[in-house]
């Protein structure tokens, strides 16, 4: 079978003008006629990218900010042409680089469904046939004839998603659109994308959310500095990506405002070790004193990406942290429970007594868990089903 998408040696060059203006102006062009030529620099956003996608495959495109993922998506969506190379697409392609493209605040919900659907490439008859389904999915039937400007942002988002979810191309390109919306709705969308994929459609998915990528895709591509670094199975690529970012699963933080308290947290470094379901979080904190104080307690709070507290760790209180004139480094190991894939933020607290805060640095460092603690689970994880997936088995069978 021929690949549904063939990307061959795609490169994209931008010319950077060293005068940082958002757009050219005619006035500058005129004055430029009489002055020396502006210095421009070539910048290759993408270099020699090649890969194939088979029909029915779902591929994740992973890379850091500025790696060239968005440029690649724009080329695949035909928004901007490549400088060299060639892409062959064998089927109807639709791209969702944003939800609600072309939504107009003055038009009603009903009118926007038609406008947006049409921009996304649906035929009028197709939108008509799916209209009820779209309205149902969005849950905005009461407001169909209200101008969009009176919708809440959540409602606008749901309506936009509902239209997008009913696209039926053979190849669907999705940018990080899932990063928005409440947990319930995200679950609905991932579920919808999975059904789309199961029905034989091809999906190209770009995201920073490793959990979403590993849920949806079986294969992935790692883009680094405009080049294709590696392609392979999704777990392999995610592992490589995380290993490459900041030397493993580490994060660091240094204080910028020490404050006036007797002791303060000067720095934090964390390192995530082990694999699912038994991760260990190693946290090093620096404590500096400005005046005499009693022995200190330390506590760590971990919350998830939507800000819900997940757990609190208070290390055994022996030994207490004694006063010291010089900065001392305290190292703590936290055994993590089997957490669902997400980004977790760590807050650090110190005090002389558990009711008296001396210094509390909130959500200063973060770590990401990308694998599911339950091996082989196909049902997506979502915040609405809790954060911990303990090991469980049936014992009487």
């Amino acid at each position: 079978m021929k690949p549904i998408l063939e990307v061959q040696n795609i490169s994209k060059k931008f010319l950077i003008q060293h005068q940082q203006l958002p757009y050219l102006s005619f006035r500058d062009k005129l004055s430029g006629l009489f002055s020396a030529k502006e210095a421009t620099e070539e910048f290759w956003a993408l270099r020699d990218i090649s890969f194939d996608v088979q029909p029915g495959e779902s591929i994740g495109i992973i890379g850091r900010n500025g790696a060239g993922k968005s440029t690649l998506l724009k080329i695949l969506s035909r928004i901007t042409p490549p400088t060299t190379g060639r892409i062959t697409v064998r089927g109807r392609i639709a791209s969702l680089l944003e939800v609600g493209t072309g939504f107009h605040q003055e038009l009603t919900g009903r009118e926007n469904i038609f406008m947006n659907g049409s921009i996304l490439g649906m035929k009028h008859a197709e939108i008509k046939a799916k209209f009820d389904e779209i309205v149902d999915f969005s849950g905005t039937e009461k407001f169909l004839d209200t101008p969009l400007k009176h919708y809440s942002s959540g409602m606008q988002l749901r309506l936009a998603f509902a239209v997008a979810a009913h696209l039926e191309p053979e190849i669907l390109i999705i940018d990080e659109v899932l990063a928005v919306g409440d947990a319930e709705f995200q679950k609905k969308c991932i579920g919808k994308m999975e059904t789309v994929n199961k029905s034989g459609k091809t999906i190209l998915f770009v995201s920073h959310n490793m959990a979403a990528v590993s849920n949806l895709c079986r294969r992935a591509i790692l883009i680094e500095k405009g080049g294709l670094k590696k392609q392979g199975t999704v777990s392999e690529i995610i592992h490589d990506y995380q290993a490459a970012s900041l030397g493993g699963n580490t994060a660091q933080w240094t204080t910028s405002a020490p404050g006036k308290s007797a002791a303060y947290i000067s720095q934090v470094a964390l390192h995530l070790q082990g694999t699912q379901p038994s991760h260990t979080l190693s946290v090093k904190i620096g404590i500096a004193s400005q005046s005499r104080h009693k022995d200190l307690f330390v506590a760590y709070d971990i919350s998830n990406s939507i800000g819900v507290p997940v757990l609190q760790a208070i290390p055994k209180q022996q030994p207490f942290i004694k006063f010291s004139e010089t900065e001392q480094i305290i190292e703590t190991e936290i055994e993590l429970p089997p957490l669902i894939p997400d980004q977790y933020k760590v807050s650090v607290w110190i005090g002389e007594h558990n009711t008296e805060t001396m210094c509390w640095e909130k959500e200063i460092v973060a770590f990401e868990i990308s694998e599911s603690p339950a091996k082989g689970r196909s049902f997506p994880h979502s915040h609405s089903n809790g954060f911990i997936v303990p090991n469980s088995r049936i014992v009487n069978a």
Binding site: F14, Y23, L24, S25, F26, R27, K29, K74, I75, L76, S77, R78, I79, T80, P81, P82, T83, T84, G85, R86, I87, T88, V89, R90, G91, R92, I93, S95, L97, E98, T101, G102, H104, E106, L107, E111, F114, M115, S118, I119, L120, G121, K123, H124, P147, E168, E170
Partner: protein, 277 residues
């Protein structure tokens, strides 16, 4: 599903011709953009369609008073009010559609950056949306003709009016597309456009007949205006003045050249709109 879908090849920009087949396959989107432009335009105004009628009427009254009465401009047999109205009608269509089309790409930049479709749809649909105004003004004009002391040659009307509309459309599309591409590149061009349109108003025989100009050389220069032929044709059924074939030919050529140049420039820059916008 659609097994018959043709392969799409994405390559570096090279073609200079428009892909009209593709444009045709996007006709529904074209319709939606036009429909949106019309809908939004009348939703945002209190006076709505009423304003569209009021504007040419007020302008006609003002010009009739100053030019017709006070300056006594000779219009060759046509009552001055009819003369001014006929010119204003087409000029208003031309100037609004050129201005709207010119701004259209910048206004729709958020869409251009996020999704692909033939970009030409955007300026074309905003020209088309202005046709609604023209239709309203035209109805008003026809009603006015029943009351004005003027004899109309129906045979000439059937031939020359569609020609006049077609020429205005050609001129508006050409200039509109060119400006829309230019404005994506140079945002400050907007100010130039509104000034040029004001000057062009007086360089077009809208409120005075071209026969008022004595210098024949100047007449040839003024005929370079695409709207010269359109407005002259529009007045043929109302007037007994003979047409000047040379001036008309110059003007028609100017329309066609502006269409070709406008579309050509648009096509040349189209591919990079998303990078510039």
């Amino acid at each position: 599903m659609s097994q018959s879908h043709p392969d799409t090849v994405i390559e570096p920009a090279s073609r200079l011709s428009f892909n009209f087949r593709e444009l045709w396959s996007y006709r529904e989107l074209f319709y939606f953009f036009t429909w949106r432009d019309i809908k939004v335009k009348y939703k945002q105004t209190v006076l709505g369609i009423f304003w569209v009628m009021l504007q040419p009427l007020l302008m006609m009254i003002i010009f009739t008073f100053f030019f017709g009465r006070m300056l006594g401009v000779n219009t060759g047999g046509i009552p001055y009010s009819v003369f001014a109205f006929s010119g204003l009608l087409l000029w208003n269509f031309f100037s609004t559609s050129v201005t709207n089309a010119g701004n259209s790409m910048v206004l729709n930049a958020p869409i251009i950056k996020k999704i692909y479709f033939p970009r030409l749809i955007i300026p074309l649909s905003s020209v088309l949306a202005s046709l609604v105004d023209l239709a309203v003004a035209l109805i008003l004009f026809i009603i006015y003709l029943f009351f004005a002391p003027v004899s109309i040659n129906i045979l000439e009307l059937v031939f020359f009016w569609p020609l006049a509309f077609a020429l205005s459309l050609v001129g508006a599309v050409g200039l509109g597309c060119w400006l829309s591409a230019l404005m994506i590149k140079y945002r400050d061009f907007r100010f130039v456009v509104s000034f040029v349109m004001q000057v062009a108003f007086f360089l077009t025989p809208i409120v005075y007949p071209v026969s008022r100009i004595d210098l024949s050389f100047l007449r040839y220069v003024l005929a370079l205006n695409p709207m010269y032929a359109a407005i002259t044709f529009f007045r043929v059924p109302l007037s007994t003045d003979p047409l000047d074939p040379v001036l008309i030919t110059i003007s028609i050529c100017a329309s066609i050249v502006s269409l070709l140049l406008g579309l050509g420039y648009f096509r040349k820059t189209e591919l990079f709109f998303a990078d510039l916008a």
